[in-house]
Amino acid sequence: MRDNTARPLKRKHEGRVSTILKHKIAFAGLVIIIAMLCMAVFAPYLAPHDPNDQDLYHVLEGPSRKHLLGTDDVGRDLLSRVIYGARISLFIGIVSTFLSALLGSAFGLISGYKGGLSDMVIMRITDTFMCMPVMVMLLVIVAVMGPGVQNIIIAISILTWTTFARLMRGQVLYVRELPFVEAAHAAGASELRIMLKDILPNAMAPIIVAVSITLGRHIMLESIATFLGLGVQPPIPTWGKALRVGYSYLEIVPLFSIAPGLMITLAVLGFNFFGDGLRDALDPRLRGEGKTL
């Protein structure tokens, strides 16, 4: 007798995307992020002036028809510099977060799955990193390696991968005890296969949330380093640098520092908001998938 009774259940279209769109704050975050990305990608079309063109007739001026946000201390158009600034900030933020997450996840995965000596060594390394003040170390590393986009990315990644490693390790410790991992063992799967196919995909959710929130934090780190003169070097337009210079002229042209400061705040907020929404979307318990009956 064939038991062909199982019928397809109705597909529940409670997708993750729609959850994020319903989450108002996350949606706001997403809008900010998309706006920032557009600004960075289409900077040459959006900016009214070349960011490095100096209008020496209008130096340190407030908003005018020609310069919507005014000009800086050498007569460059502030709006254009803020728009171009998105490029470098996002670039550094994204690349450093990606590197940091990649490095951290790899070590966390090995540490959590293998346990024993490798776990011990990796965790002691992360402990060491955890007790270093990130800001101070960042400045020290950049000072030693010299400023520049590449170096600041490397410095930020080195200092922050441990957060991802710990997060990933905790997840792996949980996931590897789940029955489907045992099922994979029983089916004869190799360790590498189990790590990559069974454990990693099921341990990713909190990493993805952390990536979004870390992105904001890295943009902040870069701005601070640049603000202190150790980050990206002129004439590349950055928010941190603009904030630094504008700060000296706060009383004459307040927009000079307010505009880049606002951009940094917006970017960080955008990523944080989006991260919160992601957390809700990726956590099935909050999505009402588990029935309470």
Binding site: N4, P8, L178, F180, E182, A186, A187, G188, D198, N202
Partner: protein
């Protein structure tokens, strides 16, 4: 139904599994051994179903895991098809995993939530490089889904889109995908709804007939075990107390624990209930860390005699048939 030749497929000889127990958080106290499985001997014939029953913590799940080599055997020997597989090499283990598969209790947890049903079912095929061409692989997965009563069109869905019974069908399809000879069924229906259990039990029986499978059926539900098994082994605190064919075991249980177990299961028939002989035992299952001396069952046993306090009984053949009991009183 099953071929009852004396062809033995799997044989366990004095198998034990001890787990180290450490007490104390900082100072490691005396190392003690928790005897999860203690000197167990039994065999399973080709094509038969051996039911393994017992209450939680009796070691029945560890038993299955030892056979599947998910756990290292501490003492004793396991033979499969005549070959010693107690401590297989890596290559041997791979080969074995093709011949032995496992069905798990938890239909929700035992499927990777990030894989589609088709991928889950085909996973053992990919692991053992039995996929063949792309179209052959697809066909094989579709055929497997059909043979467990799932619509092949559902192969691209994720586990959370299926009901409990359907998920268990996916788990079964995964287990039979590489044409194994032997399957360990670890409580395959206990997490399912009453009306769904029968569907899965029938499916398992049907597949056994079609594919000539041998089952080790681990469960705590005596009625289910009685239904599906040819022979039944009863476990208590890591040891086997009675093994017999199902008709023998259920009509003439010899070990007091088996009798208590049977009497504890209510029959859905109030009139028969009233007439049944009641054989209630007192007390709780002792902890495995500190099992009683002598016969492990004696503190709860209404028939205990002085020798039970001192000496652990061995599993001995009773009567002429294939009925084995570990009791001084039998």
């Amino acid at each position: 139904m099953s071929n009852k030749g004396e062809n033995i497929l799997i044989e366990l000889d004095g198998v034990s599994k001890f787990f180290p127990v450490r007490r104390g958080l900082i100072l490691k106290g005396k190392r003690r051994k928790l005897k999860a499985v203690d000197n167990v001997t039994f065999h399973i014939r080709k094509g038969e179903t051996l039911g393994l029953v017992g209450e939680s913590g009796c070691g029945k799940t560890t038993m299955g895991r030892l056979i599947m080599h998910l756990e290292e055997v501490t003492q004793g020997r396991i033979r499969f098809g005549g070959k010693d597989i107690t401590h297989p090499t890596k290559a041997q283990n791979r080969g074995l995993k093709k011949e032995m598969q496992m069905i798990f209790q938890d239909p929700f947890g035992s499927l990777n939530p990030r894989m589609t049903a088709g991928d889950i079912i085909g996973q053992p095929l990919r692991i053992h490089r039995m996929t063949g061409s792309r179209s052959e692989y697809r066909e094989r997965v579709e055929h497997l889904m059909e043979s467990v009563g799932l619509h092949p069109a559902m192969s691209d869905r994720y586990p959370h889109e299926f009901s409990g019974g359907q998920r268990q069908r996916i788990g079964i399809a995964r287990a039979i995908s590489v044409d194994p000879r032997f399957i360990v069924c670890d409580e395959p229906v206990s997490a399912l709804d009453v009306s769904i259990q029968a569907q899965i039990i029938n499916l398992l029986e049907q597949l056994q007939q079609e594919l000539g499978l041998t089952y080790l059926f681990i469960a705590h539900d005596l009625a289910v075990v009685r239904h599906i098994s040819d022979r039944i082994a009863v476990m208590y605190l890591g040891g086997i107390v009675e093994v017999a064919s199902r008709s023998d075991l259920y009509s003439h249980p010899k070990h007091p624990y088996t009798r208590a177990l049977l009497s504890a299961v209510p029959i859905p028939d109030p009139e028969a209930e009233v007439k049944r002989e009641s054989f209630e035992i007192k007390g709780e299952v002792p902890s495995l860390e500190n099992p009683p001396r002598g016969c492990k069952f004696h503190p709860r046993c209404p028939r205990a005699i002085p020798v039970c306090h001192k000496e652990a009984p061995l599993l001995r053949r009773q009567g002429g048939g294939d009925h084995w009991v570990a009791c001084h009183n039998a």
